[in-house]
């Protein structure tokens, strides 16, 4: 039970980073921390004590297998997270060229 609570604390740390920091890079870091906590939470739910990895081999002992469904979902989620993160980085670097700062309080002009 305590791992779930620690996972939730990690999620809250990422939320704090997103809402209170003014730097775009810090916001992206907070977003990735939230992503990591959610991945870990999903994999923790599917874990079975004394289970074995979901790979079938010839000399397999008769033990329960860890749930493969959350692992497959998290596998796609990791790559999607990479795609969104690189997209955010591209937007950030473009904003830096125009406004010469990462500070979101100074990026106020609505003109393109």
């Amino acid at each position: 039970m305590i791992v779930f609570i620690l996972c939730f604390i990690l999620f809250l740390v990422g939320l704090f980073g997103i809402l209170t920091s003014r730097n775009i890079i810090k916001i992206i870091i907070g977003l990735s921390i939230m992503e990591f906590s959610v991945y870990l939470f999903l994999v923790l739910i599917g874990y079975i004590e004394n289970g074995q990895a979901p790979i079938i081999t010839k000399d397999m002992i008769n033990l329960p297998v860890v749930d493969p469904l959350p692992q497959a979902m998290v596998l796609t989620a990791i790559v999607i997270g990479l795609a969104t993160k690189s997209m955010l980085m591209a937007i950030a670097i473009r904003l830096y060229k125009k406004f010469k700062t990462f500070d979101i309080r100074k990026i106020t002009s609505l003109k393109g």
Binding site: A53, I55, I56, L75, S86, M89, A90
Partner: protein
Amino acid sequence: MITMKGMSPIVKKVSQLISAIIFLYGIYIIVHGHLTPGGGFAGGAVLSGAFIFLVLAFGTDVLNLRREEEEASVIEGLAILIFVLMATIGLFIGIRVFFNNYLPKGQIGELISAGVIPLYNIAVGIEVGAALFTIFLALVIYKEEISK
């Protein structure tokens, strides 16, 4: 960012030798994706890592980055097209379902088994690798252009 002239000759030589091994390892992970841990996503990321390593070591002046970027994006589009086409073939064979596994299954644990899953793995691996390399090259080209 990345030094435009590349690093010292020792780094260049070592990266030449090692990137081939990294590339081979990526191909191994992709091809054995249905037997061992790994698969298209992991192997594709390793493949892109090999190319990124070479670009970082050799600098950007020896490469024609524009052409590389265009080729990488074209390869990525072709790979995803092949993935969708292979899935569409399932509509015409067997029980007529999208993403149908229409090839013979074979013996579990053999390299050539599991029907179309290895082919999907190869397509997705090429797609992920080309996508990551394209993103990296786009950043490098952008940095080069604003530094001029």
